[in-house]
């Protein structure tokens, strides 16, 4: 596979509010439950997956430093769009002043939609249909009160501005590989507010099988081994799953140092692996190789191999880093959390 395209700008966004897992546990189990993350991000009362996507997109645009009217594609991956029917892509394109000759679409594949948006936009660039396009993964995930998912279902977005392949860019997408099967581990039916899941079934046959198949598939096609990568990022529904996936594939903990943030912000769904990638780009050196493997329930994984380019050091400081967004946090209690999520109304 020849390099598909390059990332010329990237941006992440995490809402300001956090709720600690022990606070959720206090309400539902009297503090007995051992939580899979320390805390998770919570969107404010005027935020949704569209507004946080806009924030990430604006940072990506700022880092890319190109005229927004040159952007001719906007693919948004999310499982929590504000409308059932009416795309978020149109609002964000209009708000940021993208070209009106625009390939714009909202995509859904649970937590995998963001990486699929990247692959799709990279393919539009690689085929010469467009020169610049943006891909975003964004979610304000919901867990039913008291459900296991409530501890982790968080909010975040990450956006990538993609252009022609160049070593001067932030990073170049060298190889992609996607693996999909029909596996009903997690779903949400039309009109339902909260998703359903199949507990332990979400592990081995779902998360691990797809992550490992996509990662191995990519490494085999590209002729790469785990030790060829400086950084690896996995989808992170909790802290343990990505650590275990890395171990099973033969990666070392130091390769995952920058890509694992779920302990502090929770599972940001379609943004989870992409905020990890943004944090890697905040810290990586030119020439380093990165592997990103997402997972979306239903189920499938995208694996993307990238090489960090010379441009990363020039753009890094033009927008807030992931570390800064993680540190910008204010704790809320369970009552305020319910209010911000619209579960109790004034």
């Amino acid at each position: 596979m020849k390099p598909l395209a390059s990332i010329i700008g990237y941006g992440a966004y995490i809402p300001r509010y956090r709720i600690e897992a022990k606070e959720i546990s206090r309400v539902h189990t009297g503090g007995a439950e051992r939580a899979p993350v320390r805390q998770k991000s919570v969107p404010g009362p005027d935020e949704d997956s569209l507004t946080i996507a806009y924030e990430a997109a604006r940072y990506a645009l700022r880092r890319a430093g190109i005229d927004p009217s040159l952007v001719e594609a906007l693919y948004i991956g999310s499982e929590s769009p504000p409308y059932a029917v009416k795309p978020s892509a149109t609002v964000i394109a209009e708000a940021l002043g993208f070209s009106r000759k625009l390939y714009g679409i909202d995509m859904e594949f649970a937590c995998k939609a963001g990486t699929t948006a990247i692959i799709s936009v990279a393919a539009l660039v690689s085929s010469g249909v467009i020169r610049y396009g943006m891909a975003i993964g964004t979610d304000t995930a919901q867990g039913r009160p008291g459900d296991e998912l409530e501890y982790t279902a968080a909010a975040g977005a990450a956006a990538f501005l993609i252009g022609p392949s160049s070593p001067e860019a932030v990073a170049t997408i060298d190889h992609v590989y996607s693996y999909v099967t029909d596996t009903p581990d997690f779903w949400r039916r039309e009109g339902e507010k909260y998703p359903m899941h199949t507990f332990r079934f979400t592990g081995e046959p779902a998360y691990f099988h797809h992550i490992i198949s996509a990662a191995r598939g990519l490494m085999e096609e590209a002729g790469l081994k785990p030790e060829d990568f400086d950084h690896v990022v996995f989808h992170q529904p909790n802290v343990k799953f990505p650590q275990r996936a890395g171990e099973l594939l033969g990666f070392k903990p130091e390769q995952m140092k920058y890509g694992l943030l779920s302990g502090e912000i929770g599972n940001t769904y379609a943004a989870a692996s992409l905020i990890g990638l943004a944090n890697v780009l905040d810290n990586a050196k030119p020439g380093e190789r990165v592997l990103v493997v997402s997972f979306g329930s239903g189920a499938g994984s995208d694996a993307i191999s990238l090489t960090v380019g010379e441009g990363v050091e020039k753009v890094r400081d033009k927008a807030p880093t992931v570390a800064k967004l993680v540190a910008r946090s204010k704790l809320v209690d369970y009552a305020l959390y319910l209010r911000y999520r619209g579960m109790i109304l004034r």
């Binding site: 300001r16 404010g44 009362p45 005027d46 935020e47 949704d48 569209l50 507004t51 806009y54 924030e55 504000p82 409308y83 009416k86 609002v91 209009e94 708000a95 002043g97 807030p320 800064k324 967004l325 910008r328 209010r339 619209g342 109304l345 004034r346």
Partner: protein, 135 residues
């Protein structure tokens, strides 16, 4: 059914509200937000559309504790006059803050947020608010 604002009106104003488009009067030089065809200072119709800067400073503010029903979910919230970096004064909501955290002189930047939803079935209105600058 809840009162619905005009959808065409929201559509007409989308660029102004999403992108902070103001007016610059060619006769008296005043800049203002939102854009309108007639200058509020001198009455001239020689008004140009301008993209205003996205950063500024809180000049004065107040806290809304008894909101109109469409804004109930956001109360208590802060409404301020923000002095943009080009001198334009913009009336706007300050978001991502508790009322006690806002002060005159606070540095803020524009961000797209939900203004209101037109009930359960209507459209969602978005537009620019300001939040503390993330540096």
């Amino acid at each position: 059914m809840a009162y619905l604002r005009s959808v065409p009106r929201v559509w007409r104003e989308r660029e102004i509200k999403y992108r902070l488009i103001g007016g610059a009067c060619r006769s008296c030089g005043r800049r203002f937000y939102p854009y309108r065809q007639t200058c509020p200072a001198c009455g001239s119709e020689e008004v140009e559309r301008v993209k205003l800067p996205e950063t500024g400073t809180v000049e004065v503010f107040t806290v809304v504790r008894s909101p109109p029903s469409e804004f109930a979910e956001q109360a208590p919230y802060v409404v301020a006059l923000v002095r943009l970096d080009d001198g334009t004064l913009v009336p706007a909501q300050i978001t991502d803050v508790d009322p006690g955290e806002v002060y005159e002189g606070m540095r803020v930047e524009a961000a797209l947020r939900r203004y209101r939803t037109q009930g359960e079935r209507g459209i969602i209105e978005y537009g620019i608010k300001f939040r503390p600058l993330i540096q």
